[in-house]
């Protein structure tokens, strides 16, 4: 009896959350997939109409912009946040005096909500209020920094705010990684007279590969689900120049009464997430089997 219980209890404890995930994650993914094949407008309807919503999606210039923005934003955000995070981590790793204070300062942006970040940067980058006005106030009349109101540059303004928010967190990840490298190896390298930068590039960084992967996955999904930052910073504007798939989906579902279209865009977004996560899961699972 006791042995039976011991075997069954974990299963019983896990069952409710398993069922909940089955319904509320996979069940609703299925529901969304179904809705994306219908002509649902205000309320969901269930008669299938083929791929009409996906055709409409591909024909919409606004969706094109949203996907281009996601690619551009995602690539820049991930690369810059990782590079900056790594640099900060390496600098902090030099056994400096007030490391604890600095680490907290750099990590703080992550504690802010994206809405706060977006609103603050909206004011900082507003040409009439922020940096441009300040530098002009110093007497540099020709100074221009109007990215946030320039349709071609606004997406880079979003990148700046997002990097500011996330790079401290990436730094903390990398710092933990740097500290976990075996000190003996580093000491051995130092005794052999290998220069500091070589120790980083040849020993420490390669042994941190799993940290790079986790940082990448965390940043990638932050990028794909970015919504609040854009809403607060630019409202998707100027025009729809900084629209992202998530804001597109929100507009369709909640402002325009076009649920079918929103569902099809949600499915495409999920496809993008899968394209990133599945290879990762695959490599993880395979590594365990070996």
């Amino acid at each position: 009896m006791r042995a039976w219980l011991e075997r069954q209890i974990p299963k019983m404890v896990l069952a409710p959350s398993f069922v909940a995930i089955l319904i509320f994650v996979y069940g609703f993914i299925g529901w969304t997939a179904w809705i994306s094949l219908t002509r649902s407008k205000l309320l969901p309807k269930y008669d299938l109409h083929g791929l009409i919503q996906y055709k409409r999606l591909l024909a919409a210039p606004r969706w094109d912009t949203a996907m281009d923005n996601l690619l551009l934003f995602g690539a820049l955000f991930i690369c810059i946040a990782m590079a900056l995070g790594l640099l900060l981590a390496i600098l902090l790793d030099q056994r400096i005096r007030v490391e604890g204070v600095l680490r907290t300062i750099y990590l703080y942006p992550m504690a802010l909500s994206m809405i706060v970040t977006g609103t603050a940067w909206k004011w900082i980058m507003n040409p009439g209020l922020g940096i441009e006005a300040m530098v002009r106030g110093w007497g540099f009349e020709g100074f221009r920094f109007n990215w946030v109101i320039d349709p071609d540059m606004a997406i880079y303004a979003v990148v700046i705010a997002a990097v500011w928010q996330a790079s401290g967190f990436v730094m903390a990840l990398f710092l933990a990684g740097l500290r976990s490298v075996d000190g003996e190896i580093i000491k051995a390298a130092q005794i052999d007279g290998i220069p500091g930068w070589r120790i980083y590039t040849a020993i420490i960084l390669p042994s941190m590969a799993p940290i790079f992967l986790s940082a990448f996955i965390v940043l990638a999904h932050l990028a794909i689900k970015s919504f609040d930052l854009v809403v607060a910073l630019t409202g998707g504007g100027p025009g729809y120049a900084t629209d992202l798939p998530a804001t597109y989906m929100y507009a369709m579902a909640f402002s325009r009464g076009d649920i079918g279209q929103a569902a099809s865009s949600a499915m495409v977004m999920m496809g993008v997430v899968f394209a990133i996560v599945v290879p990762y899961l695959y490599s993880e699972l395979r590594a365990k089997h070996v």
Partner: protein, 417 residues
């Protein structure tokens, strides 16, 4: 599938309701709306008091945020769970959209007893009917095609209120030369759309506007006249200061108030900002209909949903009667800055801009140029108006050519169905 279940359920509910004998409780109403900011909340409180004074029990259900998006999400959840509110703040084609889902009630008995057909302009009454039956009650009429101006600036630069877009352009060029921002504008999609539709009404005329934005006639949407509308929009872009993206409409209004800018194109809710700052119409600021003949209306209304129970249905009828009643129409609109939807309300207490608006509503109704505003969701459904706004705002915020914009407009509308 879902819908037929709904229809069956609501028919059943109606049957049971009519079979059950008179309930004892007084009229009840649960009202879903998004009038939560200062002046608006005050306006809706007027209705609440009047409802209680007539023995009703009012359950307030205000849902703030997103210009009604949040309220619509709440409504969807309520309707899907089979528990719709008594009355919901809805407007324009959205009323018909909900009717097609089979969830609206018929309030023709009240409307006929109160003679709504005689006191409401025909084109506004048409929005309140679903296949010939009354299903909603109008609250007010906002006019969208207003041109607001700073009186002092116009006088200093010797400019009269323009009667055509050429005159407007000439005035704007003069103001630019004098170092004044000609047009106060906020770069948000709906504000771009507002300016666009006002320009379109002026350049296409009432008939053309009707064809393009009510019938969505592809020929009209793709016509040379539409190219001219986008040309004028490109001009308007030049009259706006460079710091406009994302600016809220009331900040643009205060630019006119403070003398930073000369004109603003905005609905008559802008008047509330002027009045709240203690400005006097005709002295400190001027109001005039924007160049072009016609009247673009934005009518707020309450749609009545199918509800069970005599007390709720009695509440619904009482509510409908009070909303269109003379007293509420007057008090509410004095608070909100709009004008009454019914044409027989005494206008003495209203200001001169409201008088102009009421007079032009009556004449344009006779001339057939009383038209629904597309930018404020009166002319077409969300998916179509959204598609048009995407093109308008993309053109306004880039260097797209007018011909490309027109081509995009036609495809976008075709793709929105």
């Amino acid at each position: 599938m879902r819908r037929s279940v709904f229809t069956a359920a609501s028919t059943l509910a109606l049957l049971t309701a009519s079979v059950t004998s008179m309930a004892q409780a007084g009229p009840e109403a649960e009202v879903l709306h998004w009038w939560t900011s200062g002046g608006e909340a005050k306006s809706v409180a007027v209705l609440q008091q009047e409802f209680s004074a007539n023995g009703g029990t009012w359950t307030d259900m205000p849902v703030a945020g997103g210009g009604g998006d949040a309220a619509m999400t709440a409504l969807r959840a309520r309707v899907l769970s089979g528990n719709a509110p008594t009355a919901v703040q809805l407007k324009g084609p959205a009323i018909q959209e909900w009717y097609e889902e089979g969830v609206l009630a018929n309030i023709s008995s009240v409307a006929e007893a109160e003679g709504w057909d005689k006191v409401l302009p025909a084109s506004i009454a048409a929005h309140m009917k679903c296949e010939g039956q009354w299903c909603a009650a109008p609250v007010n009429v906002h006019r969208v095609d207003w041109l607001w101006a700073n009186a002092e600036i116009l006088q200093a630069n010797d400019i009269a209120m323009p009667n055509s877009w050429e005159e407007f352009n000439a005035a704007a060029d003069k103001l630019m030369a004098a170092g004044v921002i000609p047009l106060a504008h906020g770069g948000q999609a709906w504000q771009d759309a507002t300016v666009f539709e006002v320009v379109a009404l002026g350049l296409l005329g009432a008939e053309g506007f009707d064809k393009a934005f009510v019938d969505l006639d592809p020929e009209m949407l793709g016509s040379d006249k539409m190219v001219a509308v986008f040309d004028q929009m490109r001009k308007m872009r030049g009259y706006v200061d460079s710091n406009f993206p994302g600016r809220d409409w009331n900040l643009a209004t205060s630019m006119v108030m403070n003398g930073e800018a000369a004109f603003q194109i905005m609905g008559d809710w802008a008047k509330g900002e002027f009045l709240a700052a203690g400005k006097v119409p005709g002295e400190d600021f001027l109001c005039a209909s924007a160049p072009g003949a016609g009247f673009l209306y934005n009518v707020d209304s309450f749609a009545m949903f199918d509800v069970d129970g005599d007390d709720k249905q009695a509440g619904q009828e009482l509510l409908a009667k009070l909303i269109v009643g003379q007293n509420f129409q007057k008090v509410f609109n004095l608070n909100k800055g709009s004008i009454p939807a019914r044409v027989d309300v005494a206008m003495e207490e209203f200001d001169s801009c409201a008088h102009l608006s009421a007079a032009e509503m009556t004449t344009s109704s006779k001339e057939g140029s009383l038209l629904p505003s597309y930018a404020h969701g009166m002319a077409m459904r969300g998916a179509q108006s959204g598609a048009i706004t995407d093109v308008v705002t993309a053109h306004f915020n880039s260097d797209m050519s007018s011909a490309d914009a027109v081509e995009m407009l036609v495809t976008a509308v075709a793709n929105s169905h």
